[in-house]
């Protein structure tokens, strides 16, 4: 096989593909795709595509269709990005390779280049207003983390500008460090200390996030090593990837394998819980701050609402306990009635009557066996007496009445 298959000007082909896709989609959206083709950054197409898609579905609660399509667009963006990066990487490797260099050396360089990407300073997930690292291959690996970022940005419990500000921006961190060193003084001492505490918690949380990201980047690096290893194994076995999809699936497999190893480690467990606990501390501090402000304005606070809910819950539990008690007393009454009825039946000599009926039945059975069968099985077979179930007293169920 040709060891140098990337000799054509693939970039031109790639650009043509993007343009073709752009035209297809313009047609599909019936001219509403007014923006011109972003030749300088074709990946912008997919981001544009996603917003277009979202616009095509009714606003309000996201439907399964719109969510699935959003994910599909996003996945396709990853898929296309992978295609672009793979070709670019091999093109670069080819350009830099000395004549006669083996493809294995090129592959090494590609993998090493990709791994360096994860050595960069960690970036926060791209929350609204916070610039993220959006146009390199690392986005592929950061998609799961971005999902958490999206959750935090859309959940009312986390989505507010103050929290984002606390968790982002190096310069903010430096300003905060200076601010935190100022001792509290005078009338505003308490408020200042609370503010400083909030800042401190925010910085801790940011640090926890960065450490978490560094760890996950290591896992991404391990995924690349695994990909490298599997490609070499394939080559040794004389196998080759036939399609971009095959490459994507192999990459997913490697990433999942590396991720599975990472997330079962003690280190992940520590970092993950530190991240979660840090976020919660920030959130709680902010909630308390908001509560204090509301309280000063004589408006209902979260604390007061919770207290009211707790009281309602306690009252409900008490009511139910009383209902259960009443039911138990009713059942006891029913049991007493049944016992009285049993006594009355005893007095009427029901047991003796039952014994007589049993004797008669026995005699009847014996006489049947003694007499020859005349005709018809029905005439000869004794009917099984129907078992009459006790009548249930409405509203007075009790174990003594039940038939099961």
């Amino acid at each position: 096989m040709d060891n140098n298959p990337y000799s054509t000007d693939w970039m031109a082909g790639w650009s043509d593909l993007q343009r073709k896709i752009w035209d297809d989609w313009s047609e599909v959206t019936q001219g509403t795709w007014a923006k011109s083709f972003p030749a300088d950054n074709p990946m912008e197409f997919f981001r544009e595509g996603m917003s277009r898609w979202q616009g095509m579905f009714p606003s309000g609660q996201p439907s399964p269709e719109s969510m699935a399509m959003r994910h599909a667009m996003s996945s396709m963006e990853s898929f296309m990005r992978m295609g672009r990066e793979v070709f670019k990487a091999f093109q670069n490797a080819q350009d830099g390779a000395k004549p006669g260099a083996e493809w294995t050396a090129q592959l090494d360089r590609v993998i090493q280049g990709a791994k360096e990407m994860f050595g960069k300073a960690p970036t926060m997930p791209s929350w609204p207003g916070v610039p993220g690292n959006t146009d390199d291959l690392s986005v592929l690996w950061n998609r799961p983390l971005k999902a958490w970022g999206d959750f935090l940005s859309t959940n009312p419990a986390f989505a507010n500008d103050a929290m984002r500000a606390l968790l982002s921006g190096k310069s903010m961190e430096e300003q905060m460090a200076r601010f935190l060193s100022v001792p509290g003084l005078g009338f505003n001492r308490e408020r200042q200390e609370k503010l400083q505490e909030g800042m401190r918690l925010g910085m801790e949380s940011r640090k926890a996030f960065e450490e978490f990201q560094v760890f996950m980047n290591k896992s991404n690096g391990a995924a690349l090593d695994l990909l490298h290893k599997k490609l070499l194994e394939m080559a040794a076995e004389g196998k080759a990837l036939e399609t971009m999809r095959d490459l994507y699936i192999l990459w997913v497999d490697c990433s999942e394998e590396a991720n599975a190893q990472a997330v079962t480690s003690k280190e992940f467990n520590d970092l993950n819980s530190r991240l979660m606990n840090g976020l919660m501390r920030v959130r709680r501090h902010m909630s308390e701050t908001v509560d204090n402000a509301l309280s000063m304005m004589n408006m209902p606070t979260r604390r007061e609402l919770d207290s009211a809910y707790q009281q309602i819950a306690t009252l409900k539990q008490r009511v139910r306990a009383m209902e259960d008690e009443i039911q138990a007393l009713r059942n006891r009454d029913a049991s007493a009635d049944i016992n009285t009825l049993r006594d009355d039946m005893e007095k009427l000599g029901v047991r003796r009557l039952r014994e007589e009926v049993a004797d008669l039945r026995k005699q009847f059975q014996e006489s049947l066996h003694a007499a020859p069968v005349e005709s018809g099985a029905e005439a000869a077979s004794p009917e099984k007496p129907a078992i009459k179930r006790p009548v249930r007293v409405a509203g007075k169920p009790g174990p003594a009445q039940k038939g099961e």
Partner: protein
């Protein structure tokens, strides 16, 4: 040998073809219509707060005389057990002659944050069970608990053995500290008190993301690329979207119940240690003396098989049976094979026990 047989022309062609499929899929998407779920006929027979007890219309003339009550997890919605006509465990049970009830927990809101496990187990479940007992004039019902609902059913059976005739558990965690239990591992060092005190109820989306994080690349990426292959098949696409709807239809978790479940079960592994208290009573698994059928899935990544199989070791019942399903946590209700295997296995086991 060079391991890439993908040349640029071929790749461009592949990606173009893929994109054409995606853009052509718009039509299918807009025509797919509403995504229904919960297909079997049912009627609400009892309501309390946000909880509804449903009775499914029997599909045989004379259903089995002891009804079966399905107790689903608080996480996600119970229509997973009745997703679509050809993927419905409930329908399978009805076809096997069972008389089926199901508890729908509804969507807790902030006013429910103080609901604890006592409210769920000694409250809602007990009153649903009593409703069925009275309605059918019987002492005991059959219980079928699914996942976390299975753990609740185990607790209920241990606390009220006089009300349970047979207990069936499906993909139910019992030993929460098996080495392969990733969820438990992740929860081990999280400050649950801080989490609940801060959040109140726990957002369903937060749990969803936790579940997705177990296979992040496959579940947030590859799955949707695979979906593109379904875009020209409306029925398959609708089935995919139905499942998608279920996955992201996640009620928030009542704060106090979440706190107790995470701390007592996930962190302390209290169920098998006999230290879980529900209300005033301790849950003693040896009180479970009724027949028990335990269904688990061999490829379950949420509730590993060993976490379920532990039940045998701790209960007092001598009539214990396991049903092994060769599949995953979701496949056990919705896969085609599960429809053939699981409902008949449960129904036959119950019929044998009267």
């Amino acid at each position: 040998m060079f391991p890439f047989a993908i040349n640029p022309e071929k790749a461009v062609e592949e990606l173009a073809r893929f994109n054409q499929k995606l853009s052509a899929g718009i039509k299918t998407f807009t025509e797919v219509g509403p995504i229904e779920s919960g297909v079997s006929a049912k009627e609400p027979v009892y309501r309390e707060d946000k909880v509804t007890l449903y009775h499914y219309t029997p599909r045989v003339e004379k259903p089995h005389r002891v009804p079966i009550l399905v107790v689903y997890a608080l996480v996600n919605r119970p229509y997973m057990a009745d997703l679509q006509e050809d993927r419905s465990m409930i329908r399978g049970l009805l076809d096997e002659g069972m008389d089926v009830y199901l508890i729908d927990w509804g969507y807790p809101d902030a006013s429910d944050r103080y609901l604890g496990l006592d409210d769920y187990i000694n409250g809602y479940i007990k009153r649903c069970v009593d409703f069925i007992r009275n309605r059918h004039d019987i002492y005991r019902v059959n219980l079928l608990g699914i996942c976390q609902g299975g753990t609740f059913s185990i607790c209920f059976s241990a606390l009220h053995p006089d009300r349970v005739r047979n207990l069936v558990t499906m993909v139910t965690p019992v030993d929460f500290h098996t080495p392969d239990n990733l969820l438990s591992l992740w929860a081990r060092n999280v400050d649950i008190d801080l989490l609940v005190d801060t959040m109140g109820n726990i957002p369903g989306d937060m749990l969803n993301l936790t579940f997705l994080s177990m296979n992040p690349f496959r579940l947030t990426g590859q799955k949707y690329l695979d979906m593109v292959d379904l875009l020209d098949e409306p029925v398959k696409l609708k089935n995919f979207l139905r499942m998608e709807k279920w996955i992201f239809d996640s009620p928030d978790q009542a704060g106090e119940a979440f706190r107790q479940f995470l701390k007592d079960f996930f962190q302390r592994n209290g169920l098998i240690k006999g230290v879980v208290r529900i209300g005033e009573q301790r849950v003693e698994l040896t009180n479970i003396t009724m027949p028990v059928l335990n269904v688990y899935a061999t490829k379950d990544h949420l509730v590993p098989p060993d976490a379920s199989r532990a039940l045998k070791k701790y209960i007092g019942s001598t009539d214990y049976k396991e049903v092994t399903f060769n599949g995953g946590h979701i496949g056990v209700y919705v896969s085609g094979r599960a429809q053939q295997e699981i409902p008949p296995a449960i129904a036959n086991w119950l019929k044998e026990r009267g």
